[in-house]
Structure formats: structure tokens, C-alpha cells
């Protein structure tokens, strides 16, 4: 074989092959680029139920799973998303894990479908005159999944366990910190929680440090659920592999990264008994929509990539669509400690310069509601504002001209969670509006969520000038938004907002007995805050779910509540 001859004779061939290869690569790149664009039609950082492929770091963008057919049995199959962080009530602090824990465990009180606090294991309770002592009377027929009866001692044990520093509960202060003695025990200053007393087997007395109208609402969170001492102590740190709860469903099987199967608790004490034999959560995320359309799921969340065809009234899917509120608000936050946002006029000017409606219509395809209030619709105390800040470029320019930064607006950095070459579309669009309407030079800085949370954690030292965050209700009370985010002494007062008048109203509301009067006070506080524009309320995200017509009673509440007991399958 003569190499030189071959090379020479095939020189034309080399050219052709090279050109062909370049053409092939070019075609693949262009075609791939188009596909890639189609497959990532934007993401909604304010929504918590849209796992798009590669959308968020840490979310496994797996293709879909094909669960076993149900064979006509009353089995519900739902998309499970990623693995829950934990199934331990003392450790739950996110909705993903909360969904399972709320079905497996239960506590003294719970939320009904309308998100009202209702009796659960406690059939009734009394509140003392100083409104600091709650006496709970427990139902007598409540049993753990293994058949052991639940008594007041079990509740005492469960609260002591959360307050035990060795439990390392991330929610102890937030949800049980009002109980006298919990913080002392957490900080190793007491061996026992003095505020929890067992009166008899079925009577439990809880004392809190000050009258708090939202205390019962906090007890609906998993942190306050009852756990079985034997189960916890024998199981060690991984006791939730076989949790012994009291809820309407029990854990039948959990294969990490694959599936979580809940089975009906035949001995459930509640009035509404579970009707489904099994609920299968298919983990591994991905295009759950395909599975739903193939009949492999009974219900599925809708992502922004499918929203248009699902919303089309002529689509058969449209009849299966549910849209509901999710009790959350996305905010653009101005740091009042950082120029130019120490001047309220600049903040107001920015608020008037952003056409929120347009961003929601175009970038989010109208999925969330445009926000003009801090409280989301559906929250008690929600009211339409008297004179909301709406898009008004002329007024924005005028406000900026009146501010002390007129004509000398410094460069501004907007920090947002994200990674990659292009920042979230919504932020880019809004930065463009600020430039067009005010001539503001705003640059975008992206950061990962670990660094972001770490930075905004201490409002006094937070270097970010402006940033965007979402806040979802922990419990259904306006206190959860207004007091926590805008009281000047609050550690989650990201805007470093300080208004003595607002603080006074919040103080009054905290001790007001009458709910109507209380909500009125919160409304007044909200009006004052909105006028000062420490934040721009941007959007209220909504739940979009498709459910097969043969599934009855499916609900998608804005809060984590035990909801699967309402569901039945009627073919």
C-alpha cells in the first residue's frame, strides 16, 4: 500500500469530506439550537412546581418514568418530583417533603379545604383569659399505624423531641418557639419544656409566651405532628424509613429516586376516611405531562411550555384544567440602606417604571397573577388597594426628578438567583424598562441560591442594592407576610424598611382579639408599606393542574394539608 500515492490521489476527496463534515456539524448545530430553544421555553423562578429540564441546579432533570398500570384499582398516581429531603416531621421545612409528611402524620389541629384551622387529634380546646394557655382535649380513638393508642404523653414527647438540640430541627424556633421553655431547651438552658403539661392521658396544656392569634395556625405545620417514641428511638437517625404515624395514609414503599407509595390507613380516626387504596408518587421528575397524556398519571402540574395548548378552550385538556391561588408573592426588593434606594422617591419611581402586567403577560404567559399588594389573594385580610402603583412612566420620571438623586442616579446592580449565560428573562425585561423609562443603568448579577440566602440573611450587612425573592405563606395569617417581612426589627426585613407607624400597627394587630379588627390593622399597615415602596410586589403565582375526569375530589390547596383523603376514583 502506497500512502503518498493514496493521499495525493484522494486530495479532492479530502476536500469533499471536510466540507461535508463542516456542513453536517453546522446543520446539527443550527437544528440543535432550534430544538434547544424549543425545549427550554423560559422558566418561572417564582413558581415552585415547574421542574423544567435543567431549570434549577439540584433538580434532577430526568426523563419521565412509566409507573405500573393501576389495573382498575383505586390507585392514584402523581408526579413526585425530586426526593423529599426527609420524612421526619421535625425536619420538614419545604413543601416537597411536607406533602408526604402531612399524609403520614397528623397533629393537634389541621387545616381544612378552606385553609381554616380545624380540630384534628384534639377534638376541642380552650383558651385561657390571658390567651396564653391552650388546653387541648384529645380524641380517645386515635391510634398510630401500628395500633398503639395516642395519648397526651405522645404529644409531650414529640414537642420535647423537636426542642431537643440533638434533634437538630430546622423549624423548632419558627413553629414551636412561642411555647414557654422551647427556646430554653433548644439552647441547653433547660432539660424540659415547661410550657407543655400532661394533665391526663387525653388532656394537654400548652402555654405560650404572649398572646398570639396565629399560634394555632403554626401548630398545623408538620413540626407539631405527633410521632411514636418507640419508632423514633428504635429506628435511630433513619427511623423514617419505617415511619409509624397517625395520618390517613401510611408509607408502604420508598425507593429513593424512583417512587414513594402511600397506602390507606384503614384505622384512620378522621370523619373523612381515605378512599384510595394507594397513592403512588413517581419521582425522577421530568416531562410528567407526557406521562399524563399517556394515561400514566392521574394528575399533573402544568409548566409554562404547555400552558398555551392547555389553556386553549378547544383543547380536550382544557376541561381537565384547574387554576388556583398559591398564597405567595414574588417581590422586587430595594435595600433601603444602599443608595439610591434610601430615598423613597427613587423606589416609587422604579415601581412606576416597571410594567409588571406586560412582563407577566409576555414572559410568564399570564400564568401568575400580577401583584399590586403584598398579601396574596385568598389570604385573610387581603383587600384591593385604594390607589395601587401601576405602570406610569411619566409619573416615574417626575418622581425621580423630585428625588435627591435627580440627574445623578448611580449605577445599580440587581442580584438574582440563577446561573448560566443569560439571566432570567423577567429580570432582563424589567431592567430594559428601567433603562427606557428612567435612564437607569442597572446591571444584572447572578448568584447561586446558597450564596444568595447567606447574603440577604443579615439585612444590616446585605450589600445587594436590589434583588428579587418569592415568599410563600407558612401559615394562613397576614402576620406571616407583613410582620415578618416589614417590621423594622425583623431579621427577614430584607428591604431594611423602617417605619415607626407601621411597627405600631403591627404591635396592635399582634394582640388584637377580634379578627376583623386585626385584619383591618394589617390592611392599614400594608397601605403604608405600599406607599413607601420598600418592595415592588410583582406576582402571585398560581397552581395549574390537570386531573383526569375519573378522579373526584382532587384539590390543590395553597398550603400543605392532608388532601388525599378527599380523593376517590370513579370510573
Amino acid at each position: 500500500m502506497s500512502n503518498s500515492e493514496n493521499a495525493g490521489g484522494n486530495r479532492w476527496l479530502i476536500g469533499v469530506v471536510v466540507i461535508l463534515l463542516i456542513a453536517l456539524c453546522g446543520a446539527v448545530c443550527v437544528g440543535g439550537g432550534v430544538l434547544y430553544f424549543l425545549m427550554q421555553p423560559g422558566e418561572n423562578p417564582l413558581s415552585r412546581t415547574t421542574p423544567l429540564p435543567g431549570a434549577t441546579p439540584g433538580q434532577r432533570a430526568a426523563p419521565t418514568a412509566r409507573p405500573p398500570a393501576t389495573g382498575g384499582k383505586p390507585i392514584l398516581r402523581l408526579p413526585g418530583g425530586t426526593d423529599p429531603r426527609t420524612l421526619d416531621p421535625a425536619q420538614v421545612n419545604d413543601t416537597n417533603a411536607g406533602e408526604y409528611v402531612a399524609e403520614i402524620f397528623s397533629g393537634l389541629v389541621t387545616l381544612d379545604k378552606d385553609l381554616k384551622v380545624v380540630p384534628d387529634i384534639a377534638e376541642k380546646w380552650e383558651v385561657s383569659d390571658d390567651r396564653k394557655t391552650y388546653t387541648f382535649y384529645l380524641r380517645k380513638e386515635v391510634k398510630f399505624h401500628d395500633g398503639r393508642a395516642v395519648t397526651a404523653q405522645d404529644f409531650k414527647y414529640s414537642i420535647e423531641r423537636v426542642a431537643n438540640p440533638a434533634t437538630l430541627s430546622p423549624t423548632a424556633e419558627n413553629y414551636l418557639g412561642d411555647i414557654v421553655g422551647v427556646k430554653e431547651k433548644l439552647n441547653r438552658k433547660a432539660a424540659e419544656v415547661s410550657g407543655v403539661q400532661v394533665v391526663d392521658d387525653y388532656t394537654l396544656k400548652i402555654t405560650i409566651d404572649a398572646p398570639k392569634s396565629y399560634f394555632l395556625a403554626k401548630l398545623t405545620f408538620p413540626t407539631a405532628c405527633v410521632v411514636d417514641k418507640n419508632n423514633v428511638e428504635r429506628g435511630g437517625r433513619t427511623w423514617t424509613d419505617k415511619p409509624n404515624g397517625t395520618g390517613p395514609f401510611k408509607l408502604k414503599e420508598y425507593v429513593r429516586g424512583q417512587r414513594i407509595i402511600l397506602a390507606k390507613n384503614e384505622n384512620y380516626y378522621g370523619e373523612i376516611k381515605p378512599k384510595l387504596d394507594e397513592v403512588q408518587f413517581i419521582l425522577a421528575g421530568g416531562s410528567a405531562m407526557t406521562m399524563y397524556e399517556n394515561g400514566d398519571l392521574e394528575s399533573v402540574y402544568v409548566t409554562i411550555s404547555d400552558i398555551e395548548r392547555v389553556s386553549d378552550p378547544s383543547s380536550p385538556l382544557n376541561k381537565e384544567l384547574y387554576i388556583g391561588p398559591s398564597l405567595s408573592t414574588g417581590f422586587i426588593v430595594f435595600n433601603a440602606r444602599k443608595p439610591p434606594f434610601d430615598d423613597p422617591k427613587v423606589r416609587q419611581a422604579f415601581a412606576y417604571a416597571i410594567d409588571r402586567q406586560k412582563v407577566i403577560d409576555v414572559v410568564y404567559r399570564k400564568m401568575p397573577l400580577t401583584a399590586v399588594t403584598i398579601l396574596p389573594p385568598g389570604m385573610p385580610g387581603y383587600a384591593d388597594p385604594a390607589n395601587p402603583i401601576t405602570y406610569d412612566p411619566a409619573k416615574a420620571k417626575q418622581l425621580l426628578a423630585e428625588s435627591k438623586y435627580a440627574g445623578k442616579l448611580p449605577d445599580i446592580t440587581w442580584t438574582t438567583i440563577g446561573a448560566g449565560g443569560s439571566a432570567a428573562q423577567n429580570v432582563q425585561v424589567m431592567v430594559g424598562m428601567l433603562k427606557d423609562n428612567l435612564g437607569a443603568r442597572v446591571s444584572i448579577q447572578q448568584t447561586d441560591d446558597a450564596s444568595f440566602f447567606n447574603t440577604i440573611d443579615d439585612p444590616a450587612k446585605n450589600p445587594y442594592q436590589m434583588f428579587d425573592v418569592g415568599w410563600a405563606a407558612d401559615y394562613v395569617d397576614p402576620q406571616n407576610f407583613l410582620d415578618i417581612l416589614f417590621r423594622s426589627s425583623s431579621t427577614q426585613n430584607w428591604a431594611s424598611y423602617s417605619n415607626p407607624e407601621v411597627d405600631k400597627l403591627l404591635d396592635q394587630a399582634a394582640v388584637e382579639r377580634d379578627n376583623a379588627a386585626r385584619f383591618k390593622l394589617y390592611q392599614q399597615a400594608e397601605q403604608l408599606i405600599l406607599a413607601d415602596a420598600p418592595v415592588i410586589p410583582f406576582s402571585h403565582s398560581r397552581e395549574y393542574w390537570l386531573t383526569k375526569p375519573y378522579v373526584k375530589g382532587m384539590i390543590h390547596p395553597a398550603m400543605i394539608i392532608p388532601r388525599l383523603k378527599y380523593v376517590s376514583i370513579e370510573r
Partner: protein, 326 residues
Amino acid sequence: MGAFVIRRLLWLPVLLFFISLITFGLGIYGPGDPIQVLLGLRANPETIERLRREYGFDQPFHIQYLNYVTNALQGNFGYSLVKYRDQPVGALIAHALPVTIQLNLVAIFLGLTIGVPLGLLAGLKRDTWIDLIIRGLVIAGISLPIIFLNPVLTFIFSRRHDFVLAAANIKFSIGPLLPMVQGYWDGIFSSKVLLPAFVESLGVIAVLTRQMRAGMIEVLSEDYIRTARAKGLRERIVVVRHAMRNALIPIATILGLMIGGLVAGSFLVENWFGVPGVGALAFDALFSRDYYITMALVLLIAVAYVLSNLLVDLTYGLLDPRIRKA
């Protein structure tokens, strides 16, 4: 020989010390911390302070490091802080490691069965159009980023594609070949393994093809091949018995080095295709600042590489006594 192995193994703890020190330092002094990720926006300063104290994160660096090392030497690599809260790190890795090893073995197997014959062919047909096409494909294969290949493959296999031949009035459709992209990880004997293994094998194919081609070209120019041909041996015997065998030796070395890589999973491939392996676990751990998982994985991968390099050196030593003394 024994002294050589012992001398090399004595370096291992020194290496692990530096690797663990750097990784630990990056975890502690890098931006963000696991408590903050765990608590998210609901971070209550009292809670942050308490959890830091209880976990010992408020201790000076050297105390934290010593505590970690002491526990690790006793086989306790800690518990997941965020992502799989309270699960022992050892158990999480024991769950993920076999998956990654299996996937990588399939990838290497694919790489061998595709790469070696391609390289052989390219070497034999040097500078012909066959060689050109093979080399072009290899370059294309390693140049296409995984982050681009993954969605394209998913698109191809998860959808139905309709084709129309207008002239013949024929309509036909292909797919969706769902089993390949649907279903959670089912082990390596399901079709689910094909796409991730294929993507991961591209690098292996490229390396092996190029090595095999170069080896063949080199060996074919050796004198003994000319002698063999001159003896009148059939070309097949010359190629298979004399040339190919010698060209395969460097391939064995490369494979030896790949053994260390077996335990390291690909972030991009495992995450995209939902393979619950080491890469996916490391990705989760890194983004949620789950220190202890990251530490254990880094150490594991370091040990694997050190041992596989040692293994390769040992085989050299067996082949060449000069290296043993060096």
C-alpha cells in the same frame, strides 16, 4: 517489588491529607453554607446560630477538621445535612457507587467494541476516505458537548417523528422509543442504559480509536512486519497476529487508567438521564453545600485514582524491571 508497592502506598495518606484539607477548607470558607441552604428564606438567626453550634460549625477550622478526620478514620463519614437529611453518607454512596460503576463499565465496553475496530480500520486504511471519515467522526464525537447531545438525543428518542415520501405517497413514523428515555433507572440490563452509556462512551471511543490508529500505523512500519510479509505470510495473519497484538498494549494501559475513573460519575450525563449515581449525588451535594457528601466523594475518587495509577505502574514494573528500581 514489595518495597515499591509499600513506598507508593505510603504516599497515599499524605495525598489524602492534602486533598481532604483543601476540600474541607473550600467547604468551610467557600460561599454559602449548608445550614443556610437548609433553612432557605425562612432562616431565623436563632435557628442558624443553634444549628451551627450543634453541628460544631462555630468551632475553629482545625478542630472541625480533626473531628471530621477522627470520625472518618472510624468509618463514620457523617450524615447528609441538606439534601437527604440525616441519611448516613456511607449508605448514600453505597447506593450510588454501584450504579456509576456499572454505567461506566457499559460505557467502556461500548468504547472498546466501537473504538478499537474503528481505530484498526483507520490505521489499516490510512489516508483513505475511510480513515478520513473515521477521524472526522471521532473529532465530531469528542467536540460535541454533552450538554448539547443530551437534549438532542432525548428529543430524538422521546418523540414520534413522522416522515412523508411525497413522490411515493408513503407515510411512516418512527418512535417514540420511550423505554430508552422513560422509566426510572432500572439497572444496566434495561434499555435505559443505552443513551447515557452512549454519551459517556464517546470520549472513550475517541481516545481508543486514535490510540489504536496510531499504534497500528507505528507497528505496521516496523521491520518485523516487513519480514513477516516478506516470508509470504498472509496479510490477515500479519495484521491480526503480529500488528494488532502489539498495537493493543497501549490500549491496555489506557484501560488501566480508566479503572480509577470508574467511580467518578458524570454530572451532566447522570443528572440529565436520571441515573442515581455518584455524579448525580455529587451534583446535589455541591449545590446544597452538603459538605460531608462532597468530602467523602472527593476522597473516594482520589483513592481510586491513586490505586489505579499504582496498578498501571505495577504492570509496567512487571514488564520493565528498570521502572521498579527508579
